[in-house]
């Protein structure tokens, strides 16, 4: 079974924050584990063009896919803009990562990415899911 664990710690407040939460990744509405994955991918972007990183598919609509995306740049000024169906989620700056449920609300619910620079910005990503619709050749 796939699991995802987050550990957050912060000394912003005088009483420090620290906790860990883990979760087995289940299919939508069940306790059956997600059983498919893209594996971990890496792309080095050399253009600032907005691209489809993960294509929404009919098999995934309303499901419980999980997505991890990380900006592996080491330059603090470099970021990627993450959008879903043209709605900006946020900016992943160098070293940032995100982990989201992705229910692919409809066929337009693609996850897109736009690098801020064209100078070899590395991004890693992975989805663990319960179905993708194969693209016909």
């Amino acid at each position: 079974m796939a699991t995802a664990t987050i550990t957050l710690s912060s000394d912003i407040q005088s009483d420090n924050l620290a906790f860990t939460k883990d979760k087995i990744l289940y299919k939508a509405g069940t306790e059956q584990p997600l059983d498919q994955t893209t594996g971990l991918n890496k792309i080095i972007f050399t253009a600032t063009t907005n691209i489809v990183l993960l294509d929404s598919s009919a098999a995934g609509v309303g499901k419980a896919a999980k997505v991890y995306i990380a900006n592996k740049s080491t330059d603090a000024s470099e970021y990627v803009v993450i959008t879903i169906n043209a709605q900006v989620v946020g900016r992943l700056y160098a070293g940032d990562w995100m982990f989201i449920p992705w229910s692919q609300s409809d066929a337009a619910g693609n996850i897109e990415l736009a690098p801020s620079v064209a100078t070899a910005l590395p991004v890693e990503y992975m989805t663990i899911h319960e179905g993708l619709t194969p693209v016909s050749a």
Binding site: M1, A2, T3, A4, T5, I6, T7, L8, S9, S10, D11, I12, Q13, L17, K21, D22, K23, I24, Y26, A28, G29, T30, P33, L34, D35, Q36, T37, G39, L40, A64, A65, Y68, A70, A76, S77, Y79, I82, I84, N85, A86, Q87, V88, V89, G90, R91, L92, Y93, G95, D96, W97, M98, F99, I100, P101, W102, S103, S105, G109, M126, I128
Partner: protein, 129 residues
């Protein structure tokens, strides 16, 4: 400087040759290496299936490097929160699920939440900004 770190560990044994990895991020302000210095932490219990704002953009700097953690504290695998930004659905947090996102808090980019049932579902969230 305040130091906030977020670490994810993923065990992916979906494939025959499973693997695991860990990734730690120190949360900085946009474009520099100054730590985020504001935190809001809360829990809310919902007793209606109406869509409402969980975190509104009011008071946050736009185009910033805010980060948001949201968790469904429930244990029922059939009950979920639908999380959105403005009018776009991001995904569903089923019982025990959590998410961690960058949030630029631009105009109208409120984070919305919609419970699937009206029987006392609780969400916890933390905003670092």
């Amino acid at each position: 400087m305040a130091i906030t770190t977020a670490t994810i560990n993923i065990l992916n044994d979906v494939t025959g040759t499973g693997f695991s990895f860990s990734d730690t991020s120190t949360l900085f302000k946009a474009g520099n290496e100054t730590g985020l210095d504001t935190v809001i932490s809360a829990a809310k219990t919902f007793t209606s299936t109406s869509a409402v704002d969980l975190v509104a953009v009011t008071g946050f700097t736009a185009s910033a490097a805010n980060k948001v953690y949201i968790a469904n504290t429930g244990t029922d695998s059939t009950e979920y929160f639908t999380i959105g930004i403005e009018s776009e659905e991001v995904g569903r947090l089923y019982g025990g699920d959590w998410m961690f996102i960058p949030w630029d808090a631009d105009t109208d980019d409120d984070i919305t939440i919609t419970p699937s049932v009206a029987t006392a579902m609780t969400a916890e969230y933390i905003v670092f900004s």
